[in-house]
């Protein structure tokens, strides 16, 4: 059977639960409304229009659930409620005790005081919570009054402007395509995108500026790449034209011929060439050498018969150069893989000339990549010295020698025993004889004692190891009347 006290405590507990729930619900609603308003406004900055609707009220389930959970977590235990009821009913612990023991003859008192406490129970104050929820709903509802914007992807009033911009992009793409700035595949992809957007405009589907912007950006990027490349070519052309313009026509021809002949001779490839080609190249080389000796103005006239250098012969020359380069490369590989056959190498050199013996970068064979194993000359390989490098591949694979550690000369050192740290008795000085215990560092040990010389009350205490925050208090103590 439930007593008045039980009912009072139960009622009080319900009210406290409800009050806790309302407070938590109120706070959570306020936070939720704030987040909603902020999110809606932030989305509008990104052209996303969100309009609040009645369904949004279902979000109140979240603060409601939070309120219930928090209420049960924060609500005190029944014994605490009994203590609160006891205080409100001025029970002086009697209501509290009667919950745990039979009140016996105190039953009437308990009931009377429980009735007093019941009347004094607090009312649930839901006004603030209701006001908060209402104001939050109004704040969210006001978002619906914001001026409409074109949400992303929806047709908007500016559709003609988009069509105009699309047309401009189409013209620009045509120009880029005509100048062959883009390859055909990229140009076709961009054209497809333009056509797709055009079709969407015709079908009155949503076309946003974002779609158009990405297209225009792609075309502009291609244009900028082309402009940068064009500028570079133009600068190099201007530089070459300036260089050539500073020389005469004959000198230009001689410069070109000498370059070709000297390179062929350096490579030692003249012997394997057809006689007419070889003769032409030797003539060129001789003319180049004569020109070097006589000066630039001595050489004149044509050094090579154009008839002997038709396309077919030049092709043969190229093939011959490639074959010889490949033969050297194969030979070098054999040397690296197996034992070096100097005699065969010498025969090859006798047959094909010095070739790679010159300083600086050796010319790689036509169609082959340079291999570091080929880097050293025969002399280098035979002597075991590191190979020589060049401007394009560093100093070569030089060996690293470890020179070993420096040895210490211990002959100039000797061991010596240091003297004892104690003072020998014959050097003692008698200062006096007393019965008091000797003091270690007497100046330090006396520092805490009051000093007559200081004259300031509490100065000695102030010098002790006191926390800084206590020093003022200690000083006040000694300066005052001692209380």
């Amino acid at each position: 059977m439930r007593t008045v006290l039980d009912s009072t405590i139960l009622r009080f507990r319900r009210r406290v639960l409800l009050q806790h729930a309302l407070r938590s619900f109120q706070s959570a609603t306020l936070v939720l409304a704030g987040i909603t308003v902020f999110a809606v406004i932030a989305l509008r900055l990104f052209d996303v229009a969100v309009v609040p609707g009645p369904l949004w009220l279902s979000a109140l389930v979240l603060p409601l659930a939070l309120g219930v959970v928090m209420a049960f977590r924060a609500t005190p235990r029944p014994a605490a409620f009994a203590a609160h009821v006891d205080r409100r009913g001025e029970g002086m612990g009697l209501l509290l005790a009667s919950l745990e023991r039979d009140p016996g003859s105190w039953g009437e008192d308990v009931e009377r005081r429980a009735q007093v406490a019941d009347k004094a129970l607090p009312r649930v104050r839901g006004g603030a919570a209701a006001l908060t929820v209402f104001s939050s709903a109004v704040a969210v509802g006001l978002l619906g009054l914001l001026p409409e914007i074109e949400p992303s992807g929806a047709p908007r009033a500016g559709a003609p402007a988009i069509a105009q911009a699309l047309e401009a992009a189409r013209e620009e793409l045509a120009l880029v395509k005509e100048l062959e700035i883009l390859d055909e595949q990229e140009a076709a992809a961009l054209e497809q995108r333009i056509e797709a957007l055009d079709q969407r405009l015709v079908d009155q589907e949503a076309v946003g500026w974002a779609d158009l912007d990405s297209l225009v950006d792609a075309i502009r990027e291609a244009n900028e790449d082309a402009a940068r490349g064009h500028e570079s070519v133009r600068a190099r052309s201007a530089e070459l034209a300036t260089k050539l313009a500073s020389q005469g026509a004959d000198e230009r021809d001689r410069w070109l011929q000498q370059g070709l002949a000297a390179r062929a001779q350096d490579l030692g490839m003249l012997e394997g060439l057809p006689p007419d080609v070889r003769a032409a190249l030797e003539s060129l080389a001789r003319r180049g050498g004569a020109a070097d000796g006589e000066g630039a103005g001595a050489a004149s006239g044509s050094a090579i018969d154009p008839a002997s250098l038709d396309a077919e012969r030049l092709r043969e020359l190229a093939r011959s150069l490639a074959d010889r380069g490949k033969a050297r490369l194969d030979h070098a590989r054999q040397q690296v893989a197996g034992r070096v056959d100097t005699r065969a190498l010498q025969q090859l050199l006798d047959q094909q000339g010095e070739g790679l013996g010159g300083s600086g970068d050796p010319m790689p064979a036509v169609g082959e990549d340079w291999n570091p194993a080929e880097g050293g000359s025969d002399d280098d390989a035979g002597s075991g010295m590191p190979g020589r490098g060049g401007v394009s591949r560093g100093r070569g694979d030089a060996t690293l020698d470890h020179l070993g550690a420096t040895e210490i000369d211990l002959t100039g050192m000797r061991a010596e025993q240091l003297p004892d740290g104690r003072v020998p008795p014959d050097q003692w000085d008698l200062a006096g004889i007393g019965r008091a215990e000797p003091e270690v560092a007497p100046e330090r040990s006396r520092s805490g004692a009051p000093s007559a010389a200081s004259g300031v009350p509490g100065a000695a205490s102030g010098r002790r190891d006191l926390a800084p925050r206590h020093r003022a208090a200690v000083r006040r103590f000694f300066e005052g009347d001692g209380r």
Partner: protein, 339 residues
């Protein structure tokens, strides 16, 4: 709820006995109602009391009056620096019985119901330590033989807060044995006038025996029957735990000012004293207010203050008073609208 609270008649009887004791003491010690109440409470809770005050304030008179009111055996021990433990506890004496000599234990002055240890801090620590077992176990062990002290056994000690030269402050273990340490304040002018008019040659008025030994045990039974609700017990536990600086419930005002907190013996003592206080207030149960009434005299002498508190001019009583303000009796607060 099989157990029943003390009925109204039992509470009234217990209150009447306690009030009789209190009124008797109040007739001897004038103008000190709180001192008298707390002394009566301590006796009802079977605790020992340390009275501290200046000379002439009636400490010894209070104890003497108490012994007369209770009609129990009373001994007074004047503690001096040369007092030996056997002077207090008694010791073996060689006696010749039927031609045979043997040691016979001769009880000391401690073997009385009510012992007045006057100026206890003047005795050496060895003699003070002789009181430890007597106060806690209510027995005395000499030469390996334990002798029980009479029941009830009270020690009421006095000490003088001045003239500290040649004294031995009571160690913490000794202080912890006292349920209360009561400070005897001075009296107001009108009370002093009354004392001057009523007392001739300093003689205290004769007080009749207030209760028999049976009634005293009846009072003890009534105190034991006072119910301590769980919420109040938790409050006592929180109070004592909060005196320890390392406790999470220790308030910030206390932390850093207390070096050592109160012991569990303090919590037991507070509960017992609160029961007696409730009976004095005619209640069958302990209330938070009863705990608050006895907390300061029960805790203050058991905590060791840090030098920071001393430099701030705080006493142990101030610290406990702040503790009482800081600790919420209810334990868990209510929301703002429900307070």
């Amino acid at each position: 709820m099989t157990e029943t609270l003390l009925d109204k008649a039992q509470v009234a009887r217990g209150h009447e006995l306690l009030a009789r004791l209190r009124d008797g003491m109040a007739s001897v010690v004038l103008g000190q109602p709180q001192l008298v109440d707390l002394t009566a409470i301590a006796l009802a809770a079977r605790g020992h009391v340390l009275l501290e005050g200046l000379p002439g304030l009636g400490k010894t008179e209070l104890v003497k009056a108490l012994s007369r009111l209770l009609g129990l055996s009373f001994r007074r021990i004047q503690f001096t620096p040369d007092l030996l433990p056997t002077d207090v506890t008694g010791g073996p004496v060689l006696e010749e019985v039927d031609g045979r000599r043997r040691f016979v234990f001769q009880p000391g002055p401690l073997f009385a119901h009510c012992v007045l240890a006057d100026e206890i801090n003047r005795a050496s620590p060895k003699t003070q330590a002789a009181m430890l077992e007597a106060m806690q176990e209510r027995s005395v062990t000499v030469l390996g033989e334990s002798s029980p002290l009479p029941d009830p056994f009270f020690v009421l000690a006095t000490q003088n807060p001045i003239e500290l030269e040649g004294t031995y402050p009571l160690p913490e273990a000794q202080l912890d044995r006292f349920l209360f340490k009561l400070e005897v304040p001075g009296v107001a002018e009108d009370v002093l006038t009354q004392i001057v008019r009523e007392r001739r040659r300093g003689a205290a008025p004769d007080v009749a025996r207030a209760m028999s030994e049976g009634e005293l045990h009846e009072l003890f039974a009534a105190v034991d029957g006072v119910f301590l609700p769980e919420a109040v017990a938790r409050y006592i536990a929180r109070l004592v735990a909060a005196t320890h600086a390392g406790s999470p419930s220790c308030p910030e005002v206390i932390r850093g000012r207390v070096r050592h907190g109160a012991s569990p013996r303090a919590a037991i003592g507070i509960a017992e004293a609160a029961r007696a206080a409730a009976l004095l207030a005619q209640r069958p149960n302990v209330d938070f207010s009863d705990v608050q009434a006895v907390a300061i005299p029960a805790i203050a002498h058991r905590i060791v203050l840090d030098h920071a508190a001393r430099l701030d001019g705080m006493t142990a009583r101030d610290v406990v008073a702040q503790l009482l303000e800081a600790i919420d009796p209810m334990g868990v607060g209510l929301p703002e609208g429900a307070r």
